[in-house]
């Protein structure tokens, strides 16, 4: 007998497009595409953690059918290249001297990311009778300037391989890429669909959960089903009924709330403690410094503050992030920001 999956978010992970919660319009367009057996490059847009990657993954699985294994690849644009990948990219970029032309014996200056992760897949032929390969690039906006490298790639290898680019914001993607893609907007789960899903799961796990609690859960998890399931599982450990208090208690342990408590400590003017906490967050979660500041602004917007205070605080954060761009030591910049907030807290 196979062991039961102990983690709910994996246990209730959708296995095909139909199982995906809500978002009927998107599912319909994608199903039409599967029927027609053809599609242009796609650009999936939607906020963080709502299942864009999952949809892209299940869609390509259904589209490719049996030939899925050989013709599908998922790459993460925001995961840095490992040392081996860098070396590989460097040696791959070298053009042999035996080739003819002005480029012989030189290195091509393709960005390492494309060289290491994209090109080897895109250049190979389609296998197993599928119409073309599918490459999914997650967090495409993280590529920054390297996006330029995709322009020609999408045209040259377009016949061989279609790409699904996934991003949280269209504005940070350069226009030539956007014009080459069909944009698919993916909205967060609607409350009604969310309710349906959660009550179903609660029934399966024989839990009691009231409608109001589900609404609270929806708010806390910001519509992210995986996060909601995590919270549900945690609160179910101590009893079969799930109430709001438990949910709140557990949600405080997650990262956004750590940053929230960091801000609260800073508002109280306790600098040493705030600094200790910020170091803990940065080292445990391995945040990029920019991401850390963005999260701070996100959390700041949830506080009930006056217009003046809010704009002032955002000014502080902006300045710190600006300095961190050129600076060498992130810890100094974070400490500087916290010390400013601590000082400012006297006027709150």
């Amino acid at each position: 007998m196979e062991q039961e999956i102990p983690i709910w978010r994996i246990k209730y992970h959708p296995k095909n497009l139909d199982q995906i919660c809500g978002r009927k319009e998107v599912k319909e367009t994608l199903k039409n595409i599967i029927k027609q057996k053809n599609f242009p490059h796609l650009l999936f847009v939607g906020s963080k953690g709502i299942g864009k990657t999952l949809i892209a993954y299940l869609f390509s699985k259904e589209f490719l059918g049996k030939a899925y294994d050989a013709n599908f690849k998922l790459v993460y644009a925001n995961v840095p290249l490992s040392e081996e990948e860098r070396k590989q990219a460097r040696s791959d970029a070298y053009v042999s001297t035996s080739k003819i032309g002005s480029i012989a014996g030189r290195r091509i200056t393709t960005p390492a990311f494309i060289q290491a992760r994209v090109k080897p897949f895109v250049q190979l032929k389609v296998l197993g009778g599928a119409p073309f390969k599918i490459l999914v690039v997650k967090n495409f906006e993280a590529l920054g300037q390297n996006q330029q490298g995709f322009r020609r790639l999408m045209e040259i290898y377009g016949r061989n391989c279609r790409m699904i680019l996934i991003t949280t914001k269209v504005s940070s993607i350069i226009n030539p890429i956007v014009s080459r893609c069909q944009i698919v907007l993916i909205s967060p789960v609607k409350l009604d669909d969310f309710k349906d899903l959660i009550t179903k799961i609660a029934a399966k796990e024989s839990l009691e959960i009231s409608d109001e609690t589900i609404e609270v859960l929806y708010k806390i998890s910001e519509g992210k089903i995986s996060h909601a399931l995590d919270l549900m599982q945690l609160s179910s450990i101590s009893g079969k009924t799930i109430d709001m208090e438990k949910l709140y208690e557990y949600s405080q342990k997650f990262r956004n709330d750590l940053i929230r408590s960091l801000l609260i400590v800073a508002f109280k003017g306790d600098f040493p403690k705030a600094r200790e906490l910020s170091r803990k967050i940065l080292s445990n979660y391995k945040y990029d410094i920019n991401e850390f500041f963005k999260l701070m602004i996100n959390e700041l917007n949830k506080f009930p503050l006056s217009k003046f205070v809010r704009s002032k605080l955002i000014n502080f954060i902006a300045e710190s992030e600006f300095r961190a761009l050129d600076g060498r030591d992130n810890d100094i910049q974070v400490s500087a920001l916290l010390s400013k907030i601590c000082l400012f807290s006297e006027y709150l």
Binding site: H227, Y250, R255, R323, S335, C342, S345
Partner: protein, 451 residues
């Protein structure tokens, strides 16, 4: 005349004239202990023997070539590089250069030196050395002129744009030379690897302490100096860590300064590069009351400013308490950090004075309300702050590999969203931990991540 004599640095004045007068540092070649003096004089003797042999052979070859047809032409012989050059490696001031000069003196040779103060581009090096090396001058046939010894000092100082093409030139020199070459360097440099492969390397060690004391006392005796105390001399020697040149310079500096009384402070202030010095520097920095004092402190110290400001960042909280001062201090420090970043990125070295003033003076002077720290305050190491790259430990990577067989998740999402959840879940009870680890088939090491 006597006035002029005192102006020579003692280091030059007491540079040994012959290898016999010299306290020889011990040396190692590829791990084996060797006698440096014997090795070097053998090297020079062998070189000239080899050169004579090669030259005679070459003469024959040239005569042969003159009569032979093109196909049968022979190449001229060259002196093998391991017989043409050696490299002395060791910390500064232990007598590497002195040994070369003493040796040249003993063999009655002329030293042609190039060091880091010369710009060593390909063109310059060729001009300076190559011509002298390839042809022995016309004068040689008329006058019985001296042989030459080529000293390439501070070869590890060859780097950067200014010295472009220097290393290939050095290698060419080694192949073509008509005179022995001795190179000196302080440390291993990767860009010198092609040189290392071709020649013998000697590791030179600092002199033992009793030898150093003997030399120092000898100098003091010759200079008629009596007011330097025994313990002060030992302090100087300890401070310098076997750097004989540094010791002689320090003795000269202190005794010529005509300072009466206790010289301990002065000796201590001459060298400030070890840990204890950083500690006291930081303690002193927060006692200053003017920008000038702060400047003096940072100017006097040899502490690498690359990480001095990190020390200040770490220890600021010990010395400054109120929020107002802290904000002020961190404002200055963060500005300094930004400036430093720009200096390094765009080479705006003109900004460096601001950097110094901001991170030392600016920070120290922001202490206004908090009283000067009395008694001993603990100074701590700067904590390692992770770099800009997102990196995982090996165990974390293995964990993700196992997880990925069952559930597709990116590394970043795993660390930032999934792992915190798993930790809380497994923290609730043993049973949960067992369930999860059984399901993922984790071993003991990987289980630790969950705790």
């Amino acid at each position: 005349m006597s006035n002029l004599k005192t102006e020579i640095p003692w280091v030059e004045k007491y540079r040994p004239k012959s290898i016999k007068d010299m306290a020889l540092p011990s040396a190692r070649m590829s791990g084996h202990r060797v006698k440096l003096a014997d090795e070097l004089s053998n090297f020079i003797k062998n070189f000239f023997e080899e050169r004579n042999r090669v030259n005679i052979e070459n003469k024959k070859i040239r005569e042969f070539n003159r009569t032979a047809i093109d196909k049968e032409q022979k190449d001229e012989l060259k002196i093998p590089p391991e017989k043409a050059a050696v490299l002395l490696e060791g910390p500064p001031g232990i007598g590497k250069t002195s040994i070369v000069y003493a040796l040249a003196n003993d063999f009655n040779m002329e030293v042609i030196e190039t060091n880091a103060s010369d710009t060593r581009t390909r063109a310059r090096l060729e001009k300076r050395l190559k011509e002298t090396i390839k042809t022995r001058g016309i004068m040689d046939f008329i006058v019985q002129s001296r042989e030459k010894l080529i000293l390439i000092d501070e070869i590890d100082g060859i780097y950067g744009v200014q010295d472009r093409g220097a290393i290939p030139t050095v290698i060419e020199l080694i192949h073509d030379t008509q005179f022995p070459i001795i190179m000196c360097s302080n440390e291993y440099k990767t860009n010198l690897q092609p040189v290392y492969n071709k020649i013998r390397r000697y590791e030179v060690h600092p002199l033992p302490k009793n030898e150093v004391i003997k030399i120092a006392k000898n100098i003091l005796k010759k200079e008629n100096i009596t007011n330097l105390k025994e313990e002060d001399l030992e302090l100087i020697i300890d401070k310098n860590n076997g750097d004989l040149r540094g010791i002689i310079n320090d003795i000269q500096g202190i005794t010529q300064g005509n300072i009466e009384g206790d010289q301990k402070e002065l000796i201590l202030s001459l060298h400030r590069d070890n840990l204890e010095e950083i500690f006291s520097l930081i303690r002193d920095l927060f006692k200053v009351s003017s920008l000038r004092e702060a400047r003096n402190l940072t100017n006097k110290s040899d502490v690498d400013y690359n990480f001095l400001y990190k020390w200040i960042n770490e220890n600021l909280l010990t010395f400054i308490k109120s929020n107002r001062e802290l904000a002020e201090a961190f404002e200055n420090l963060s500005m300094a950090d930004e400036i430093f970043g720009r200096i390094r990125m765009n080479q705006y070295w003109g900004l460096l004075p601001y950097f110094f003033d901001l991170f030392a003076g600016g920070v120290a002077l922001s202490r206004q309300e908090t009283p000067i720290a009395k008694g001993f305050r603990r100074v701590v190491f700067p904590r390692y702050t992770s770099g800009t790259y997102f990196s995982l430990t090996n165990i974390e990577k293995e964990f993700i590999e196992k997880l990925k067989r069952k559930y597709e998740i990116s590394q970043i999402d795993f660390i930032q969203e999934f792992l915190p959840f798993l930790k809380i879940l497994c923290g609730t009870s043993r049973k949960q931990l067992k369930n999860v680890s059984d399901w993922l088939e984790l071993d003991a090491k990987e289980k630790k991540i969950l705790k």
